[in-house]
Amino acid sequence: MAHINLPGFLFIFFLILSCILLPPHSAETFAQSGTNLRGLVTDSTSGEALTYASVTIKEISTGAYSDSKGYFLITSVPAGRPLTVVVSYMGYYPKKMTVSLEKGKMKHLDIKMIPTSVFLPTVEKVEKRFVEENATDISLQRLTIKELELMPKGVETDIFRSLQYLPGVRSTGDVSARYYIRGGASNQNLVMINGATIYNPFHAFGLFSIVDPEMVNNIEFYKGGFTSEYGGRLSSVMNIFTKDGNKNNYSAKAGISYLSAKALVEGPIPDGSFIITGRKSYSSDIYGKFLNGKNIPLDFYDLSFKINYSNPEFVEGSKITVQGLLSSDRLLNHDPMKADLKWANSIFGFRWFQLSDSPLFFEMGVSFSNFLGEIIPNLSTSRPERNEVSDLNMKIDCSYVYDSKDELGAGLNITRLNTKLFLENSSGLITDIGSFGNNFSVYAKYKFLRFRNLGIDLGTRINLTGLSSNGGGYFNEPRISFTYRFIPQIALKGAWGIFQQEITTLSDESEVISLFEPWVIIPEYLDPARAKHFILGIETNFTEYLSLETEGYYKKMENLPAINERKIFDSDPDLVSGWGEAYGFECMLKYKFLDFYFMGSYSLGWAYKNVNNWLYYPKYDSRHSVNLTLEYDMGRNWQASIVWVYNSGLPFTKITGYYDKLEAEDYFSQMNLLTPYLPFLLLGDKNLGRLPDYHRMDVSLSKKFSIAFANFYLDLSVVNVYNRKNIFYFERDTGRRVNMLPFLPTATLKLEI
């Protein structure tokens, strides 16, 4: 076990302890000289938290954004005089109110925003939004469900697919919603729902995510350089925050698409609310469009719920939530000569969020995430496989905001992870190559926000024990990100950090379609994977409605586990270690004009991987990528959008000839070597070829209308309007070219009561 840095550990331990033990009523302890204004921004009709709402105090030209839970905090507010607080949020009428604060006493505001009936951000034209000039948010995308709803729906609205419109986010085809960030593999992306890890967030071979968009309130998505409260992955972090449910009225929604039918019920409960959604596939016809006309007897469902409880008489300032997400996919062939498959997630979580009279936020969460994937071969040539992942996690996060606006954050994370992967070896015996481990990590960070034009987030994450038994002990992951605004319109942003990952999937990179990817803790014969990120960018806000973000990045990854392609015997290791490198440049232009919204992004990137001393481009390395989105609010509840996506060709391995190979199928009849041989490919150097460029245009039209007491939402989309034949892969044995989605009109109807 590695040497433990005791002083560092003790510093963080006492930091956390002091935050935890800080009594809610000890505001005086911190001797606040100024006054703090705190608030919660919610929807007046449903009580749902509104995230990233702009809150401005006019007289002093300061303000804040509401966080992912709808809370905001403004420190050092002058007391004793009336102040005008202006709150604005996309799709809601702006709200102005006059408040007066008493010196040394925190003021809490409950701000209920009234929604407009239109979709687009008309409020933006009315009130100037607060600009957080020193926010240390490089490579961070915050998306509200309103923004996600504006994106083209395709066959099924999907949050993961929507993310692929962002620069730096790549997919390898229309078939999969799996995504690759800045040259990192898909298993380097952490996906969480309210802080609980989702190990396999996909339905149907990765066609769709298991998170029903109806359940989503907002998403925080780090493409790199994530701050010290997050760990365990090398490339990106996506935290999905779900809705709380309607606190005022009971309501129900039902929807139907080509693929699935779904329903949502939400409503108030004493001192809280609940929301429950369910989705079930009813037709498998659409899979043929994605998977080369194959008939796939796949059936899936997912069920999500969340219950909130907040009673001042129980614990003042507290909010307790219980959540669950269950998903299941079954592919049953009803033929003993074919394999059956099933995979399922079950996630349960409990969170306690606590406010106090001081500017202290405290949150504790316990979650249990379980994944089960199984291949039942029956009498097919598939090997039986069963993957069980059991993750029990406890997190504590606390943050304190000083008068100076500086913030201190600290927390701890305890993960007890058990991975089992049962495989059949060549003697027919079932062996388990999974393992068990505990990760105990602590983090601390200090955000210097005292200067209006400079923000620095300095932190570290210390792993005291590791999941993997080799080198998985003490490891320090320092992180820093900063923002320096030269002039109000231009800011320089940057981030650097070290990241560690101790689990991996047994993913075969040469598979363009795979069923599910089994997770295992990195075996003892390999070191944990590690990465360094260097990111530098410039944010330019030309006007309030026109902005340009540019970022350059360099990512170095070491000890990357990769499938051992030279494995022949059971005694050979399943994984070998490699390294990777990625660098590139991204820019994103956003422009809002009248009822139009335009977003254009371009990314230029290089990704390399080296396994067994062979350097190659991984399958997700695309040099150029362009996304253009134009949305238009046509009035009368009509909404239209058009999206054009371009990606330069992905790597593939070229054919350099054929030969007739002795088949190893039936030695009893083939040992004389004179029976017919079958053609086999001669392949060139791995991934040195490039597929043709990919481009596609999608359009969508949405309409909201009411009949009697019910609201209807109709979405009409056309995928691949000009029927571009984007190559998906090349069938090596027949020479057949398999294309991605063709021209495909789709429709979704949603009913809300």
Binding site: L341, S382, E511, L515, I568, S571, T656, L674
Partner: protein
């Protein structure tokens, strides 16, 4: 421009964009794509030394290209003739001769099968062996291996007489001191005579491990090579095989059942590797675009390996044989 961005013009512009975008893009709907790179010239040598015969064979061929992408389009036999192939086992060297034989399936190649052979050559167990092929163009292909260790019957675990009372399967086991990575390929055969024109003719029929239903039909399931040293078949599979040998023939008395022969091949390390890399484990849905290949031929492709085989007989209960109407001996009962 100003007009375009105000009033009703944006809507018109947006609609026009949607309507005309397919037309604007019609020129880029498809793109020619050639997945081939520079074609490489490779030579393929296959030679598997067998302990169950004194005639050893080898094949030599070259890689090829086709006009399109379907390799089955190639109609030119890629066999390479006039090469010098030699195999050394211990102190002995065997020179292979060229030969031809008729091809049963002429759907792809119409020429006779060309191969190389060496007579009076039965490899012994646990011996180093080496092969060298010198092609007419001077290129050399070389490989080496070690023949596997002998296999012996594990009598304690193997059934000597079937059916075994209270069991619905037949069991065989063997002992080998080879490396744990050695693959064994077992197969049971029913050995019987059929009286044809008054003379007994010997036949053998593979017995599947079991039968199963697939697509509404019953299909046999045969074993695959594995590193395990045990093997079993269902009694039902034996019963079905016993019935099949005389299916449609009302005169069952023409059949004489001798025994079940359990044949086990022990593959050497190269053959084991060749087999395990060639297993196409398809779930029917995963799509893999690159395939792994195994070869131990230096300077080319293919396989040089060896196997030893071992047979053991399992007797069948006479009452059981007679229950099918068959005889148990060639001598009148």
């Amino acid at each position: 421009m100003k007009k375009l961005l105000s009033g009703k013009m944006p809507l018109k512009a947006f609609c026009l964009l949607i309507v005309f975008s397919p037309l604007l893009s019609s020129g880029c709907r498809d793109e020619n794509f050639d997945p081939k790179g520079d074609i490489k010239e490779k030579y393929i040598l296959n030679c598997i030394l067998r302990s169950d015969t004194t005639v050893q064979t080898a094949t030599l061929s070259e890689s090829y290209n086709v006009q399109g992408y379907d390799p089955m389009e190639n109609r030119t036999d890629p066999a390479v003739e006039h090469a010098d192939i030699r195999v050394w086992v211990g102190d002995s060297v065997y020179v292979f001769k060229e030969a031809e034989m008729p091809r049963s399936d002429t759907s792809r190649y119409s020429t006779r099968i060309k191969y190389y052979y060496a007579e009076n050559f039965r490899p012994q167990a646990d011996k180093p062996a080496e092969i060298l092929a010198v092609l007419p163009n001077g290129r050399k292909l070389h490989a080496s291996t070690t023949t596997p260790l002998e296999v012996q019957t594990d009598y304690a675990e193997t059934d000597s007489l079937v059916p075994v009372q209270g069991r619905d399967y037949i069991y065989a086991a063997w002992i080998s001191y080879s490396s744990p990575t050695t693959y064994f390929y077992p197969r049971f055969s029913l050995v019987y005579f059929k009286i044809v024109n008054g003379l007994p003719v010997r036949f053998s029929k593979f017995i599947p491990a079991r039968y199963t239903f697939s697509g509404g039909k019953e299909v046999p399931v045969y074993p695959l090579p594995a590193t395990g040293v045990k093997y079993s078949i269902d009694m039902d599979a034996l019963r079905r095989t016993m019935q099949d040998i005389s299916a449609g023939d009302p005169d069952k008395s023409k059949y004489v059942i001798l025994a079940i022969v359990a044949d086990v091949m022990a593959l050497d390390m190269n053959l084991s590797g060749f087999y395990s890399s060639g297993k196409l484990l398809s779930d029917g849905f995963s799509v893999k675009v690159d395939e792994t290949d195994f070869t131990n031929i230096e300077g080319g492709l293919g396989i040089f390996g060896a196997y030893v085989n071992h047979e053991l007989a399992i007797r069948i209960d006479k009452k059981y044989i007679r229950s099918f109407g068959y005889k148990t001996t060639l001598v009148d009962e």
